[in-house]
Symmetry: C2
Subunit: 702 residues, 2 copies
């Protein structure tokens, strides 16, 4: 039932416009105009209390007068009449409704109350509502246009655009027209009281006409639903998102380094990574990449790009852009070099970029392109063509388009210029061959292609935790005991929770006096660390509350003494319980591992360079929990801390397996005990391969 | 004289084309065609042995037949005839010559020889040569067009473009035409056997018609000349450069961290910073920024941007871009908020961005813009206009252009769309009001404006070294002694050179035996560090050759013993001379300071995070020597290591003054003794304010 209701947004049996208007200044006029002009094949009813006629179509005064089945309602009445209109629709079994009207949450408190009323009506009556405060949907293939944006309606295209900004939808429809590509569907989400961007994305992806889905996002309300729905689409069709509002994104709880570093942006980025969404940096790129992915049927096998040009400068520019986009310049096979050498003049360059020189004819362009595409070391080709002095750009376009149409490898073209390359550009657009004015843009689209190929190759499986490693019951016992105590868990309790979660911890031993400390240290074996025992001081090192590398009973006594003096001086005796002693682990590399909860996407893991400079160095990355194997690899490969574990200077290859286990166990803990708000282990000491990794200092916030 | 010769490239008294051709497939045809069609006001001679007539103009067979004064020669004869043509020109007192002909260095070894012959002829005969292998110059105001690029010639504009790629020049002339802006001068540099990009830049800057100079650079041959000439222009007119070939840029000498991190890119970036050049990331941006700077007479006072929009989405997008570009969202004064509140509907947003809602009329656009420009807290305004549903974009353009033309603050406009905003866009272009399709592009141009304002505000003065601090004579003595010894200077010698350069060093004391070491340590006072004394082992820590924090005679003995064992085990006795003892400095922050020599720009300073992870963290920046006060601030502010010196966690504000002195002294040393190839001080320990900074471990390569 719900599915049918969603389908009605793009393929309704019949449509009614409630609030259709004869006043050209009203949105109800534009909606009726666009719907009637769209070529929609079903029947259309226009409703307005005033009655009359519009575009030769009668305006009826009430829903009761509709004489044919209607399953999609478009509501353009003033906000205060929307609730009763929804009920009227429900009574007529119109259960899919687009509310164009504004004046809801976006207009202030009263609007927000009205919006809540509408939401309740929708739930009670089983209505699916798109909006309110949206511009509706366009399906260029149905065809259907429920919006009021300025005509003409976009021509049929391949890209679905789901936008949380209506104005952007309208602007991009027009911009795309000028750029020679178009949309399959355009959806404006409005205030999203019911239907979500993820619902519409799944729906759009079902259309055979849609090859790529683009998203303009300001915020996501239901993170888990977004992840689930979008993840079901990305293995089949590319999804590209532009997420805005980054500059306003606040921080999450900032009690620990992890909290201070984990902004909302990190959560969105992690969510896009988890669900295989390609992330665009700018509005323009969103569509430039979409055009490339829509018009290029096959994905690149790897990241090797061949550049073909008739001039040096743009070739070097492209090579720079390729390096910056983390693609690689293809190294040609010997037969390619031979073939190019035979074909081109002596002064030409047969390396990469291939510089055919300004004298290159359309035929030479085509032949060289063909040679490059045959090379197994070439995964993609960028063809660059500033206006050739001796030939017409259109002839180059014609010659290469034949080769490109046959190619099973992605090819992108950069005709540089404007009036001199106009015909060539239009020719390629008609052939649906992706082209961009500048080599840099073209390279970025190749990177998007490669990005999507890599997304499809990822290992999305989640590593399993061996049974018996996690003792949730006992961990929960400790958590519950501390639920009402503000701040971090006492250090010893934190250590226990870590232990029950299967994390290898270096145990802390509590001592209240010098003699006790000395005794413990002697048993433990030197060197030891001494840490102030306090649940109230959050940064122990700042206070000078940590003594490392104590090598003898003397050292222990001295440290205890100095600590005691310090506590007395700062009048902190009440805050301090005693000291902890901990066996020092020799050698190894230090990393930080943490976890927080994002309000939208839930628990999130952090990994990176630890120590006291965590927040300064910012060498950390985030991943949603539970992390897949790919996400764990990402954490390790995208941070210097992680890369270093692979071996660095006098440090051998570290025990990556143990680090991965710690990440997996911490994830399980966060999933199992929602009461835990934040965990931070700083440092985790990672020894050489096979020697393990150990949580030395763990903090838990409940 | 030389000046006159350079002037002749843009304002010749008379021009001769040598190699003018009647064959449409030859470049000599295109050059004659463009020159004659350009509207050039002087007299033109065409020379070709074959004689005849072209465009109603006689072709003479020899230079001797020219009957009027000519000071600019354009040579389009085959490469092998260029030398004799140059001599012939010289004999006719034609001393400014553009060699269009290709077939020189770019074509292989023989061409390189020919090029060298031409260079010698130029020197011997006092000729100034642009090229060879270039497409010549265009001056749209003179007017003059010596190129063969496809007509029409660009209309008169404000931007000079000096390009090391001819094809790019041609492509950009055409692209600019489509974008509605144009050039004052276009220069293609070719192989640059004589006239350099810096010569042409100075020349172009002299033209009243030129407001902005753009540079496309692949490489610079004479770094100091570039710095000197460009620095003379940037305080008066903005210079924007695109430097390509970054992906190919090799590393400098890699004996130290400093060497390994100092690629050619760093040198170019440092050179642009020193000379006040704005650096563009892409070809498109180069010109987008130039248009903004050319058409906007006044620079922003600070970085506060107001955003005016009729839709939320593009406003949020702009806010993101503003944060990313390190500009700030303006905070409006109370009177601005009042005025906007009075003017706009209740549901509008009067914060920043100002969202007037889709109903905003052209008049409302203009009134709001006016209000924002009057606010003293607003330095720049971005106006965003997706196609308004109820109004025409052209009317918005007309309304706001009146306000913008009167404004003394930079305003940039983003009409989003294509066909629906075409008239509006064309209107603004005619009024020379900068406009871009996307808010993100527009924001980047504002950042370029602010960047140029900041360039003009910089403190370019170089800090003076107090007399007597630098004892070059004695430093040089030590350097000379080591000139023939490969590798780094012996540690003790390096320490001495640092000392003579006025750097505060922590002295090393050499010991050959345990007892000697113990004795020295006792005198020195604990804790001490022990370092292996060897000129042959480069990374002492990797070898385990450094023991820190030795607190007693026992510790010293143990360390010596372990070191000895290690040396024996690795059979390195011959490589090791003994040990150094050094007093440990307690507390403080560690940074790295280094210096290398770039082959183009000369000595270069490095500053950043030190330790063994220097190359992994890459928290370092470079500056050309001698650094100005601004460049020293840059080193300190653009690195985490530098920012941290301002105070961080339990570290108080560090002694920045002493760090600056170390940078200045090291610079003086590099300038005074060219024999020094590399210096690296890792670490410099920086104590709290007033307590000094100390070079703990210095290495010098000669």
């Amino acid at each position: 039932m719900s599915d049918e209701q969603l389908n009605a947004f793009f393929e309704p049996m019949g449509v009614v416009v409630i609030g259709a208007s004869r006043d050209e200044n009203k949105l109800g006029f534009g909606v009726a105009r666009n719907l009637l002009a769209s070529g929609y094949q079903g029947r259309v009813a226009l409703v307005n209390q005033k009655g009359g006629e519009l575009f030769g179509h009668p305006i009826i005064q009430s829903l009761d007068q509709i004489g044919f089945p209607v399953d999609l309602g478009i509501v353009v009445v003033p906000a205060q009449y929307v609730p009763e209109t929804l009920i009227a629709c429900s009574q007529k079994s119109i259960r899919s409704i687009i509310v164009i009207s504004g004046g809801f949450r976006e207009a202030g408190k009263e609007g927000a109350v009205l919006e809540e009323v509408c939401r309740k009506i929708a739930i009670e009556n089983g209505l699916r509502i798109l909006g309110p405060n949206c511009i509706g949907v366009i399906d260029t293939h149905a065809p259907l246009d429920t919006t009021f944006i300025q005509p003409p309606m976009p021509s049929p295209g391949e890209i679905a655009f789901i936008s949380q900004s209506g104005a952007l939808g309208a602007a991009m429809v027009d911009w795309a027209r000028g750029e020679g590509f178009s949309f399959s569907q355009v959806v404006s989400m409005g205030n999203q009281i019911d239907v979500s961007e993820a619902d519409m994305l799944v729906l759009a992806a079902r259309s055979d006409h849609t090859s790529v889905i683009t998203l303009y996002l300001e915020s996501i309300q239901n993170g888990p639903a977004f992840l689930r729905k979008v993840s079901s689409v990305t293995p089949r069709k590319p999804v590209i998102a532009l997420k805005v509002g980054r500059s306003r994104a606040g921080q999450l709880a900032a009690s620990s380094h992890t909290g201070a570093l984990a902004g909302k942006n990190n959560a969105y980025e992690a969510a896009f990574r988890k669900s295989g969404v390609i992330v665009a940096e700018t509005t323009k790129e969103l569509f430039e990449w979409a055009k490339m992915l829509a018009w290029t049927p096959s994905l690149p096998k790897s990241s090797n790009v061949a550049v073909l040009t008739n001039a040096g400068g743009p070739g070097v520019t492209a090579a720079d852009a390729i390096a910056k986009a983390r693609l690689t310049m293809a190294e040609y096979s010997a037969s390619t070099v031979d073939a190019l050498t035979t074909l081109l003049p002596a002064a030409a360059s047969v390396g990469n970029p291939v510089d055919m020189l300004a004298s290159a004819s359309p035929d030479i362009y085509a032949q060289c392109l063909n040679i490059l595409l045959l090379d197994p070391n070439v995964d993609m080709v960028l063809v660059i063509a500033p206006p050739p002095p001796m030939f017409k750009s259109i002839d180059v376009a014609k010659a290469i388009s034949k080769v490109i149409s046959r190619s099973e490898k992605p090819v992108v073209v950069s005709f540089m210029g404007s009036t001199l390359v106009k015909d060539a550009v239009n020719y390629l657009r008609k052939k649906k061959i992706p082209e961009y004015r500048f080599p840099e843009q073209a390279v970025r689209t190749l990177a998007a292609m490669r990005n999507y190929a890599e997304i499809r190759e990822r290992d999305y499986s989640v590593p399993l935790i061996p049974a018996g490693k996690l003792d949730i019951g006992r961990a929960l016992e400790i958590i519950n005991k501390n639920l009402d105590i503000p701040g971090f868990l006492p250090a010893k309790d934190a250590e226990r929770v870590m232990g029950y979660s299967g994390l290898p911890v270096v145990p802390l031993s509590f001592a209240e006096s010098i003699s006790e400390a000395e005794e413990i240290a002697e048993k433990m074996g030197y060197p030891v660390a001494m840490k102030i025992a306090s649940t109230k001081l959050s940064h122990k090192t700042d206070f000078g509350g940590v003594y490392l590398n104590l090598k003898s009973a003397d050292d222990v006594r001295n440290a205890f003494h100095r600590l005691h003096e310090r506590v007395e001086k700062e009048r902190l005796a009440d805050e301090v319980d005693g000291v902890f002693l901990q066996r020092m682990i020799k050698g190894g590399q230090e990393v930080i591992v943490g976890a927080v909860r994002d309000p939208v996407f839930g628990p999130m893991l952090m990994f990176g360079s630890g120590g006291v400079e965590v927040e300064g160095l910012k060498d950390v990355q985030f991943s949603l929990i539970p992390p897949s194997n790919h996400e764990i690899e990402y954490l390790l490969e995208s941070t210097w801390a992680g890369r270093k574990l692979g071996g660095f200077r006098n440090f051998g290859k570290a025990d990556l397996k143990s680090v991965k286990e710690i990440l997996a166990h911490l994830s399980s803990l966060m999933l199992a005990i929602p009461e835990i708000k934040e965990v931070e282990i700083n440092p985790v000491i990672v020894l050489e391969e096979g020697m393990g990794a150990f949580a030395v200092d763990s903090r838990i916030l409940v």
